[in-house]
């Protein structure tokens, strides 16, 4: 149970970063943290204490196995996270080139 709560804390740290930080880079870091928290939670859902890998063999009797599906699926999700992060960092670099700052309170051309 404590693991799940720590996971939630990590997610909240990420969300706090996204909502409260003024620096674009810190916002991106917040997104990464929140993303990792969700991925970690997904892996934890399939985890069994002292479990083994679910490989079928005729001589081994499988009693307590780890669910392999979340692990496979989380890999995809990590790759998607990589793409998003790369795009966000690229945007941040171009924004720095145009505005000369990472501070979102100074990057406010759009309003209304």
């Amino acid at each position: 149970m404590i693991l799940y709560i720590l996971c939630l804390v990590l997610f909240c740290v990420g969300l706090y970063c996204i909502l409260r930080k003024r620096n674009i880079i810190k916002i991106i870091v917040g997104i990464i943290i929140a993303e990792y928290a969700v991925n970690l939670f997904f892996v934890l859902v399939g985890y069994r204490m002292e479990g083994r890998s679910p490989i079928y063999a005729s001589d081994a009797d499988i009693l307590n196995m780890v669910d392999a599906l979340p692990q496979a699926v989380v890999l995809t999700s990590i790759v998607i996270g990589l793409a998003t992060t790369a795009l966000l960092v690229a945007l941040a670099m171009r924004i720095y080139g145009k505005y000369g700052t990472f501070d979102i309170t100074k990057i406010r051309e759009l309003r209304g």
Partner: protein, 501 residues
């Protein structure tokens, strides 16, 4: 798996292959991106029309990816709702590509545009045809990431700012969706949507489902730009190049937001009265707040973006009524909105192409110089404002009648009020942009190039003829079938597994 089901993966393969080939050789062969873009989108349009016919003949079609049968493997499902959405997405995509052939000449790297555009289209089609919840998330992200890049396509100050805002909000929305999927997986031990519907129906209501509903409502609500989550849309949609604004407002928020909400809440989780009244409330809120914010705008594209929020409110209101007529009206309005809103954004692109500004105060009298843009814009404005006999009138009428029938008089009143305010707002657009005296610098203006004109005329014709979809013979094929899928609710699971065979 029946032989007809072989058509389903092509909705993803064609745009994905088009994007790949364009990225590979588009830089060297200048003419290729245009030709490939038009050919693949027109091909997709033809395929989606075929899919409507297939669904009519043989009911639900299920394709098992890699011959692994669902629920073990990933399934792709083509039913009435999916084929309805495919037609909507691909009609707009094909016409928008036609428009881009001329419009995108002012940007240096056209091939990058087409590559991203087709990638986004692949994501949207994938979201619509997939029958697997995690697969839905993957396609959702493909479409979203491509759209973030497309919003920033001009790489000017405002575009970058809007794209960053949109990307952050969109990523947070995707995280909520993923979290919801994780909870559902841990509860049901399956990711297949049909299987999940069966398991959830067997398990009955629980707190987990409630939590998941909230997470999905936040995640997909953000993608659909419903009112408490709408802040990114008025920045992102105007900043993109006009064809992309047309795609984003026209179909992206619908296929990623409204369609996913509708599919998951009606067919997988099961609609409860609480969620349905939440739909009604959010719908009415978006409808009214969107239109109030729109009235004061002077930037044409920003005004249109606020109207998108308002019109999405109508769609969600119709779906939230959960009566056959309400759902039919909501889906019909979804189709109509994607047609007239993309037309309006293409008009704004045409105006920007000619005058170089989006500020209504700097235009005036353009009807004389740009008759095609002016007339099509008039048609679209009357459609969105709900004036008979254009398509927007019929769908709004159905939604309002459905609200009255369901004895939701308050919501019916708000729908009528929002419609009147929409009319007021578009009267302003027509007055400032097209009517009145021609300004001095307007005298040299010319009408848009031929492909742009074709695209606008085609969409205007759909606006005029859209009401015909309600005619008895056509309605049963197209709209009623989509509404039936929504109405069948959790029987979706058994229907799909009947066809896996």
């Amino acid at each position: 798996m029946t032989p007809e089901a072989q058509i389903i993966p092509f909705f993803v393969i064609i745009p994905l292959a088009g994007a790949f080939v364009t990225a590979l050789v588009g830089k060297r062969l200048k003419a290729l991106p245009d030709i490939l873009g038009v050919m693949s989108t027109v091909g997709l349009l033809a395929l989606s029309l075929v899919s409507v016919q297939l669904v009519r003949l043989s009911g639900v079609l299920v394709y098992s990816v890699g011959a692994w049968r669902p629920p073990v493997g990933i399934g792709m499902v083509l039913d009435g709702l999916a084929s309805f959405m495919l037609v909507t997405v691909n009609v707009v995509a094909a016409i928008v590509v036609l428009f881009s052939v001329d419009y995108m000449k002012r940007f240096t790297s056209k091939w990058q545009f087409y590559s991203l555009f087709l990638l986004m289209l692949a994501g949207m089609n994938g979201v619509v045809v997939t029958g697997d919840l995690f697969n839905l998330f993957v396609f959702l992200e493909i479409a979203s990431v491509a759209s973030y890049a497309l919003v920033a396509f001009g790489t000017e100050k405002q575009e970058l700012e809007a794209a960053f805002k949109y990307a952050v909000m969109g990523t947070v929305a995707s995280l909520f969706v993923l979290l919801g999927i994780v909870f559902l997986y841990s509860f049901t031990s399956t990711l297949n949507m049909a299987d999940m519907a069966l398991v959830l129906a067997a398990k009955g209501p629980s707190h987990i489902v409630l939590l998941v509903s909230v997470l999905f409502l936040m995640g997909f609500g953000l993608k659909a730009a419903l009112v408490p989550f709408h802040a990114w849309l008025p920045d992102a949609h105007p900043s993109a190049p006009a064809p992309i604004s047309a795609m984003l407002s026209g179909v992206l928020i619908k296929s990623l937001g409204v369609y996913a909400l509708c599919r998951i809440f009606y067919n997988v989780i099961g609609m409860t009265p609480a969620v349905s009244s939440l739909f009604l409330f959010l719908g009415a809120l978006s409808m009214v707040i969107g239109v109030f914010l729109a009235i004061g705008q002077w930037d044409l594209k920003r005004l249109l973006a606020y109207h998108s929020i308002s019109q999405i409110g109508y769609v969600v209101l119709g779906l939230g009524l959960a009566t056959p007529l309400g759902i039919l009206g909501g889906l019909f309005h979804l189709f109509n909105h994607s047609v007239f809103k993309s037309l309006l954004f293409l008009n704004s692109g045409s105006l920007e192409h000619a005058t170089g500004t989006r500020d209504l105060r700097k235009m005036g009298g353009l009807m004389q110089r740009m008759p095609v843009t002016g007339t099509t814009s008039l048609v679209a404005s009357m459609s969105i404002a709900g004036i008979p006999p254009f398509n927007g009138f019929w769908s709004k009428l159905i939604i309002i009648i459905a609200a009255v029938e369901a004895r939701r008089f308050g919501y019916a009143f708000w729908a009528v009020l929002a419609s009147l305010l929409t009319l007021a707002s578009f009267t302003k657009v027509m007055k400032y942009a097209f009517l009145g005296a021609l300004r001095d610098k307007g005298r040299a203006l010319a009408e848009a190039p031929v492909f742009m004109r074709c695209a606008m005329i085609l969409l205007a014709l759909i606006c005029i003829g859209g009401g015909a979809l309600l005619a008895p013979g056509i309605r049963d094929v197209f709209l009623t079938r989509a509404a039936d899928v929504v109405l069948q609710g959790l029987r979706y699971g058994t229907e799909v597994f009947k066809r896996v065979g």
